[in-house]
């Protein structure tokens, strides 16, 4: 059994060595495709992480009507708390708010009477529910509107969609190209190994002995592409992270390169894809060569 496995693997690596340049093109193209997909995937994940961390950053303010009696203000607060998507509610009294405003804008507020109403700081469990929470709060009697960063949220949502679209289009195109290259390299390997294949057929070698080395070849090409992609992405990711440190917007979302995840996903996807492409090439050839 070990002899047989060694034979199959040796045949595959002999062929990989024989078609060095074709192997190189197939590996680098699949690496580029996987890098693009993996890189965009990481950006996508970072934005999602950031979006998920937003509820603590993105607070909604539910403004009370001016001069609303304290009992009614507390009643509104209780009703906001009952909304399932709301994580927390904190009352900011008009006196507290005015004190802060006076500290921030001493000249502008000098000699003025308090013009601010009572308000609630509302934090959300899911920033995606911001519109729904605002609509629920606006139904409560006694409130006078909700303020939140609707535009910022929409911007993030659009960025996620755009990255998803670019990832699917570019990554898909590159993946297709790398698939064609792996397919072609396997077809070339079949031509280059035609004598070996013929000899094996003459002596009655099992079909698996003839074709499995070619499948191993495709598998290895795809896996090497994934390995290369994950390796190149590492410093690229760290560079982007260090650049983003200067941006307050992403300042809190800095995270380390998820090496294990990236290697296992990219190598796994690459290997599977390489195997799939070589299976298609071998299947086509098998129908012609008996």
């Amino acid at each position: 059994m070990l002899d047989r496995i060694e034979f199959l693997v040796a045949e595959a690596f002999t062929s990989l060595r024989r078609n060095t340049w074709m192997t190189f093109s197939a590996v680098t193209t699949s690496a580029t495709a996987l890098m693009l997909l993996g890189g965009l995937g990481l950006i996508y994940m970072s934005i999602l992480d950031f979006a998920q961390s937003l509820p603590s950053k993105l607070e909604m303010r539910a403004i009370m009507k001016m001069d609303l009696p304290e009992a009614e203000v507390l009643e509104v607060g209780r009703k906001i708390k009952e909304i399932p998507e709301v994580a927390g509610v904190e009352l900011v009294s008009r006196e507290e708010a005015w004190e802060k405003a006076r500290q921030s804008f001493p000249t502008e507020t000098e000699g003025m009477e308090n013009v601010l109403p009572d308000a609630y700081k509302v934090t959300m469990r899911d920033v995606g529910q911001a519109d729904e929470i605002a609509a629920e709060i606006e139904k409560i009697p006694g409130q006078d509107g909700v303020e939140y960063f609707r535009e910022e949220y929409n911007l993030i949502d659009q960025a996620v969609r755009l990255i998803r679209l670019i990832g699917a289009a570019l990554g898909g195109m590159m993946l297709l190209t790398s698939g064609v290259l792996i397919y072609n390299s396997i077809r070339l390997a079949i031509v280059a190994r035609s004598k070996e294949i013929r000899i094996m057929q003459l002596v009655g070698a099992a079909r698996s002995t003839i074709w499995v080395p070619l499948l191993i070849e495709g598998f290895v090409q795809g896996a090497l592409g994934g390995l290369l992609a994950a390796t190149v992405l590492w410093p690229a990711y760290n560079t982007v992270q260090s650049m983003s440190e200067s941006l307050a917007f992403l300042g809190d979302s800095k995270s380390n390169y998820p090496a294990l995840l990236a290697y296992s996903y990219l190598v796994g996807i690459g290997a599977f894809y390489g195997l799939l492409c070589s299976m298609i090439a071998v299947r086509e050839r098998r129908q012609k060569v008996r």
């Binding site: 000899i199 094996m200 009655g204 008996r290």
Partner: protein, 228 residues
């Protein structure tokens, strides 16, 4: 041997490559176990097609083909390798791997059929000795004469110790001296019990061998003779 079921039986075998191109047109032929026969005829007469029917490189369109009691038409694609292990196939072009020595060429074929390293170490010298090429075991194919290369190809055909040897124009690339050497070798293997079927148009060699000759023309058997 008479009265026994033939080892190979072609019964009105037809092979059609397309609606207008036929490889064989109703060939009926019996070959007994241990026989040595020549299939002779011009290029395109159907000699190679007849051999390819036995190796299942070509499918029989009509008729019956039996090998050692087994209906070759009923052999599934999966079973073809097993069928081929019951025969040794010698091609005209030797089909040797140029970067491998004589020893490695035979060993490669043995590995391909799943033999272990230990079995290979034992089998290769025996096989090379049988075809009188053991003394060139370390030579590369380009260092061998055409006759020696064909000996290696015949040796490789013997790796499964097959009871049947099929040779398609085995002397096609050889000069008369080497051609006779190869035919003598096939005759020796026949004497040791192998059934041998040789397709050739080299009548000069055939006439010196005194074996059964099946003459083919246009996909049919045109005549038979035993050259005495």
């Amino acid at each position: 041997m008479e009265g026994q079921a033939p080892y190979i039986l072609f019964d009105r075998v037809e092979v059609k490559y397309s609606d207008v191109v036929a490889g064989l047109r109703g060939v009926s032929l019996e070959v007994q176990k241990g026989e040595f026969i020549f299939l002779c005829g011009q290029t395109g007469s159907g000699k190679s097609t007849l051999l390819k029917c036995l190796t299942r490189e070509v499918r029989v369109t009509k008729g019956r083909l039996v090998l050692n009691g087994r209906d070759v038409r009923a052999v599934t694609q999966k079973e073809v390798p097993l069928l081929r292990r019951e025969m040794g196939i010698v091609p005209q072009d030797f089909a040797l791997l140029s970067g491998k020595t004589v020893w490695e060429n035979v060993a490669y074929a043995l590995r391909a059929v799943g033999r272990t390293r230990r079995e290979i170490r034992k089998a290769v010298p025996e096989i090379l000795d049988r075809v009188n090429i053991l003394h060139r075991a370390d030579a590369l194919p380009h260092e061998l004469s055409g006759g020696e290369q064909q000996r290696v190809a015949i040796g490789r055909a013997l790796i499964n110790n097959p009871p049947l040897l099929l040779a398609d124009e085995p002397t096609g690339n050889l000069d008369p001296t080497h051609s006779m050497e190869i035919m003598q070798l096939l005759a020796e293997l026949n004497l040791r019990g192998a059934t041998v079927v040789v397709a050739t148009h080299d009548m000069a060699v055939v006439e010196q061998m005194s074996k059964r000759i099946v003459q083919m023309e246009f996909g049919r058997i045109a005549g038979e003779a035993v050259d005495a």
